[in-house]
C-alpha cells in the first residue's frame, strides 16, 4: 500500500501532461524514455529470479489459490463502471419505487385490512425489486459475458487454466456484493415505506411478524437473479442472448403462463419472479397462490444449482 501511495503523485502529474499531448505522442513518449531506462535495469533483477528457477523464494508469483482468485474477481467487479451503474440503478429503483407505491397504498388501505393479512405493507415497500431485478440481472450477465465479448476471458483462463475456480470466485464475489448492497437497500426501502404507511396507520415495524425475513428474502431473491444472470452468461456467452433469456424467464413467463389460464396456474408459482414475491412478502400463504417462503428459498437455490452445474460443465469443456 505504501508503494502505491508513493507513486501516486508522480503518476498523477505525468498523466495530466500526457492528456495535454495527443494520444499518439503519449504512446510513443514512454517508449523512447523509459524502455531504454527500464530494460537493462530489469534484466539485472530478472536474472536473479531466473537462477532461482522454480523455487518459490524470490519468485514474484505465488501459487493459485481460491482466495486469490476471489480477490482478482473483486478487483474486476469494482473496477468497472457498469458495476457502479447497474448496482446504483438497482438501489435507486428499489428505494425509489417504495415511495410512490406506499403513498398510493396509504390512501386506500384500512388498518383492518392490514391486520387481517389482506394487504401486505412489507411487500408494498419492497416491490421495487420487480424493477431492480432487471438491473441486477444485467450485472450478473455482464460479469461473465463482458469477459467473452472483450476477449478478457482468455487472459483469465490463461492464468487459471482449471477455469472452475474462476466461476466459483465470480459467483461468490457477485453474490456477496449483491446481497450486502441489496440488503441495505431493502432495509432502507422498508423503513421509508413503513414511515409513509405508518403515518396513515397501515404500516408495520421491523419487529413485526415476517418483516425481517421478507427483507432478507428480497435481498436473497435479487442475489439469486444476479447468479442466474451469471450462469446464463456463462452458458450463452453473449450479453444480448443471456439478458433476453433472463428477462424472458423473469418478466415474460408469468405473463405467458397466466394467458394459459387455470391449466398452468399451479405451475406458475414455481416461476422465479413469483418465488421472489413469495420470499419477500408476509401475506399468509392461504390468501395467495404462492409457495411458502421456505419452499420458495429452496426452489431458488435449486435453480441456481442446476444452472451452476450446467455452466460449470460447459466452461470446462469449451475452447475459448
Amino acid at each position: 500500500m505504501t508503494e502505491m501511495h508513493d507513486r501516486r503523485p508522480s503518476d498523477a502529474t505525468s498523466a495530466t501532461s500526457a492528456l495535454a499531448t495527443s494520444t499518439a505522442a503519449a504512446a510513443r513518449r514512454p517508449g523512447t524514455t523509459t524502455l531504454e531506462r527500464g530494460g537493462p535495469a530489469r534484466s539485472g533483477r530478472r536474472s536473479a529470479a531466473a537462477r532461482a528457477g522454480d523455487a518459490p523464494n524470490g519468485a514474484v508469483a505465488g501459487d493459485l489459490t481460491q482466495t486469490r482468485i476471489m480477490r482478482s474477481e473483486w478487483i474486476k467487479l469494482r473496477s468497472l463502471r457498469s458495476t457502479q451503474w447497474t448496482m446504483g440503478l438497482a438501489v435507486l429503483l428499489l428505494i425509489g419505487l417504495a415511495v410512490p407505491l406506499c403513498i398510493s397504498a396509504s390512501g386506500n388501505w384500512t388498518p383492518a385490512e392490514v391486520a387481517a393479512g389482506k394487504q401486505d405493507p412489507t411487500y408494498q415497500s419492497l416491490a421495487g425489486l420487480l424493477l431492480a431485478q432487471v438491473a441486477i440481472g444485467v450485472l450478473g450477465v455482464l460479469t461473465m459475458t463482458g469477459e467473452y465479448a472483450t476477449g478478457m476471458i482468455r487472459a483469465t483462463f490463461g492464468l487459471v487454466p482449471r477455469r472452475l475456480p474462476v466461476l466459483w470466485a465470480k459467483a461468490a464475489v457477485l453474490a456477496g456484493a449483491t446481497f450486502v448492497l441489496m440488503l441495505v437497500a431493502s432495509v432502507v426501502s422498508f423503513l421509508i415505506g413503513q414511515a409513509i404507511l405508518g403515518s396513515h396507520g397501515v404500516g408495520v415495524s421491523l419487529g413485526s411478524d415476517g418483516a425481517a425475513r421478507a427483507i432478507l428474502g428480497a435481498a436473497f431473491y435479487l442475489t439469486a437473479i444476479a447468479l442466474l444472470g451469471l450462469t446464463l452468461g456463462a452458458l450463452l456467452r453473449h450479453t444480448a442472448g443471456a439478458v433476453t433469456a433472463l428477462l424472458g424467464a423473469v418478466l415474460g413467463l408469468p405473463l405467458i403462463f397466466s394467458m394459459f389460464g387455470e391449466r398452468l396456474e399451479s405451475a406458475q408459482e414455481y416461476l422465479p419472479s413469483l418465488l421472489g414475491a413469495a420470499i419477500s412478502s408476509t401475506a399468509p400463504v392461504r390468501l395467495t397462490s404462492l409457495l411458502s417462503p421456505g419452499r420458495a428459498f429452496v426452489m431458488l437455490c435449486l435453480y441456481i444449482a442446476v444452472l451452476g452445474v450446467a455452466s460449470a460443465y460447459v466452461i470446462t469443456r469449451r475452447d475459448v
Binding site: 508503494e3 500526457a18 527500464g38 530494460g39 508469483a61 493459485l64 476477449g151 475452447d319
Partner: protein, 328 residues
Amino acid sequence: MIEARGLTKRYGTKVAVEDLSFTVRPGAVTGFLGPNGAGKSTTMRMILGLDRPTEGSVLVDGRRYRDLASPARHVGALLESRAIHTGRSARDHLLALAATHGIPRGRVDEVIEVVGLQDVARKRAGGFSLGMGQRLGIASALLGDPGTLVLDEPVNGLDPEGVRWIRDLLRGLAAEGRTILLSSHLMSEMSMTATHLIVIGRGRLIQETTVEEFVRGASGGRVHVRSPQAAELAELAAREGATVTYSAALPGGAGADAGREAVPGSEADAIEIAGLPSERIGELARAYGIALYELTPRLASLEEAFMDITRDAVEFDAATPATSRGNR
C-alpha cells in the same frame, strides 16, 4: 521449456493442427513460422490450455499447463487477439490478473514502467491504440516473471522503437535462460530476433531447426561469380555437375534448372553456380587460368527460405489427400 507431442486439433472435419511434435528449449528465442492458417495461434492456445487438443499433449516444464500450481510463474503469454476488458484501466487490468497469483502491487507498477504505459495506466483500455494494447498485453505476459514466454505476433502495431525494444527484451530474456516462443509474419524481424525455428504448414511440422541452417538449406549452396571468362567457367562447373544460371536473367535464382542451356556463347560476366562449394570453384578457376572478379556465397533471406519451403509444403500437402482418398 515446451514439449509438444503428437498435438492434433480438429474442428469438425477441418484439421487445424495435425500430429505436431516439437520442443522449445530454454536459452533461445524460437521463431514459430507458418503461412496464415497454418495453425500457429491454435498451437499457442493449446499450450495455454485455452483450446483442448483433439489428440496428443503439450507439456510446459514437464507438466501439463493446467496442472501447474503457479501457471504465471511458468508461462507468460500474449495471444494474437486482444484479451483486455475495454472498460477497465490498464492498471486495474494488471492488478486483477496479478491478484490470482498473489503478485504484489509493486510488480504491477514495475511492468507498467517496463512497457512504458505509466502515463496512461489509469485510463480505460478501450481507448488504447493497437500498439498500446500490445504493450499492455506484453506487460501482463511479464507479470509473473515467467520462465517461458509465448508471444503471438508481439510486434503487431508497434512503432519501430517498440519493435526494437521487443527484440532487445526478448534476446535479453533468452540470454537469462528463459524459453521464448515467438510467432511473427515479419521475416526480417524474425531473423533478427530468433535463433531457432519451428516451421509449420497446414498444421504439420515442416522443419525444426536453427535460423542459420534453415536459411543455408534454402539457399542451396549458390555462389555468385563474376569473371571475364564466365562462359568458360560455367562450362567447367556444369561438367562438375553444378547448375549454372546467369544472375542478371534470373535475379531470384528460383529457376535454377533452366541454367545449362544459357551457358554457351553468352557474353554476360556474372553467373550463379549452384551445387558446387566456392572453394572448388576457386580451384577450378586457378587450374584453368580463369580470372575471378568476384566469388560470393549467396545466402537466401529468411523470407526467401520461408517462401520456398512453405510453398513446397503446401504443394506436398495439397497432393497428399488426393492420393490417399483416391477418387474424388
